[in-house]
Amino acid sequence: MGTTNSATSTAAGKVTFGRSGRNLVLRFEGNWNVRNTRHGEIDALFSELDREGAADGLQVDMANVGSWDTSLLIVVARAKDWCRKHTVNFLSESLPASVASLLAISEEVPERKTGRELKKSSSIFTLLGSMTIDVFAGVGTALEFTGDAVLSFGRILRGQAAFDWRMFWLTMQECSAQALPIVGMISFLTGLIFAFVGAIQLRQFGAGIYVANLVAVAMAREMGAIMTGIIMAGRTGAAFAAQIGSMKVSEEIDALQTLAISPMDFLVSPRLLALFFMMPLLVLYSDLVGILGGAFVGLSFLGISWSQYWNQTIGSMGLIDIATGLVKSAVFGVIVAMAGCERGMKCGNDAASVGNAATSAVVLGITWIVASDALIDVIQEVLNL
């Protein structure tokens, strides 16, 4: 409401009460501003009113009010409420027209009785129960999404899907060539760290040369795929969730559905297949750069020659090690794409949901990468591979 005022009085707003015959009179004075309202005094006034007891009506005197804003309106509304509770007539004709009009506007639409209640604190069992239900529901939707993705793949193979080839090539580019610098840097450092850790132990036994074995096998079987998977979950998975989530907010996904184009075929499958094909290539690159990181330590700190290191690396690694890494990478690619797209498709309709979708895509992606890595290792152990 009006913030500047030219009222002659500069005194802060004040309210007192008196009696006029059988009626109570609330006298407002001064300039009423939310910033300098004395709430303590107003509370005290209403306590006194409670003690005052019987009266026929309550009237308001605003003859000495200068400027005013919401603060005055709140006191008047409170007085009216007080009258209702104490069955005292609120003499609204004593109100100035503008105050009466605002009060009328504020009371025109009755309070929504079914409005949301404030959150109640729940017991630990309720929380545990609802978390379990959420987890099962989450697993259910993830399985449903996986099923849809498989059906979509079937449609693509039969040539019946509205597959977006532009998105496919664009995603291929984004998760291959454009990811090389970050994957290269992280892989080099991973190889280097492994070599350092191994060197400290192996040097004690004069077996420093075996650093090459350690780095080669670790990179090929585990670290190349895991590190690349984690990078892609943070980089590409989050981007998928945010892209698809924003499309959901702006009703682009609804537009696809009304044209009978499956969002699964058009949005999810191109991304999923692009990552499926590109992740193994990225992991091969990661393995190589990781081995170079190990070689850097071997050559610089352990006095091993390049040919020795290279021969040791070749000798220690079998095709099965590389194949293990590649299989894992394809699985991780699918996980990252699925987590990103699923979170995006399940996104709410506002900006905060898009942020939450991106965050949860990364968390989900990384969790499943680590879990599936462990599962593949167990299967390999059982199959003696």
């Binding site: 409401m1 009222a7 009626n23 308001v60 004593s94």
Partner: protein
């Protein structure tokens, strides 16, 4: 007790300042070297509702951005209550901006906050009121826009019209001297739109707030405007200034303004048929356009 004197917020009517609440002098708008509109001059009296009209893309919303300080003025001047806004220091500008309330086209409510939190945020930032005092104000503001009981709802859980009203409650949270509305009726059904217009009028009458509205909704323009300006993209200038009910009269304004206000296509007769003197080609293009 007799009827009390009717003090109005911000002082009694007799105390009202003689100068304009908003004065714009020779304002030039543009993007980079591109000039969108030049020599914009107008003034709005305190407590008046002014509508900024014009066709799509003429710069109505851009003018609003200049008025609320989202775009820097390079040529011309904007004066509020006798104080230059465009030449003010950053600190003074912020202080003046606190006397503005802006209702954006979609409400622009912060989606991660409830309606109560949305309305409370400006109060938390700029006043030292306690949480319970802020809640009293928030409840009153939401009641004024007919949203009492919706305090704990999130913007995504309410309808477009309610979002606009909640946006209005937020715009009014600091008791602004001037309220700006960007396309308040856009996307609303006619009844909700009429109710919003009524609310704007009643709040203005009760509070004496100066209101600036950007819109091209004709019913709204005629219902609420005390005065208006018409921006013309072709001549890049303001081609009409006055009450729309006057501007619509024959001979009172540029024919373009009348066509706009009468919702008539200058290329066609009122029922949408091409004029008789048009050539066959233009008839064809008009009917397909």
């Amino acid at each position: 007790m007799s009827e009390a004197k009717a003090p109005s917020p911000g002082g009694s009517p007799g105390d009202r300042r003689s100068e304009a609440a908003i004065e714009v002098k020779g304002l030039e708008m543009g993007y980079g070297s591109y000039v969108l509109m030049r020599d914009i001059d107008f003034s709005v009296a305190p407590g008046e509702i002014m509508v900024i009209m014009g066709g799509s893309g003429c710069g109505k919303s851009t003018l609003l951005k200049y008025l609320i300080g989202l775009k820097e003025v390079e040529k011309g001047e904007i004066i509020y209550d006798g104080r230059s806004f465009s030449k003010a220091s950053a600190k003074e500008k912020e202080e003046m901006q606190r006397t503005f309330g802006v209702l954006y086209q979609g409400g622009a409510l912060w989606s991660s906050l409830t309606l109560a939190e949305n309305v409370a945020l400006p109060l938390e930032q700029y006043t030292s009121l306690s949480a319970s005092e802020i809640m009293d104000i928030v409840s009153m503001k939401l009641a004024l826009v007919g949203l009492k009981g919706f305090e704990e709802f999130y913007p995504s859980e309410i309808s477009g019209g309610m979002r606009k009203r909640a946006g209005l409650a937020r715009a009014m949270s600091l008791d602004p001297a001037i309220l700006f509305f960007d396309e308040p009726s856009a996307g609303l059904d006619p009844i909700t739109s009429v109710r919003l217009d009524e609310l704007i009028l009643r709040l203005r009458d009760a509070l004496g707030t100066t209101v600036v509205v950007v819109t091209h909704e004709l019913p709204s323009i005629f219902a609420i405007a005390d005065t208006s300006i018409f921006l013309d993209a072709e001549t890049k200038s303001v081609i009409a200034h006055g009450n729309p009910k006057e501007l619509v009269k024959e001979g009172h304004s540029d024919p373009k303004v009348r066509d706009f206000l009468l919702r008539s296509d200058p290329e066609k007769t009122p029922i949408g048929l091409p004029r008789k003197n048009q050539s066959a080609n233009s008839i064809d293009s008009a009917s397909h356009g």
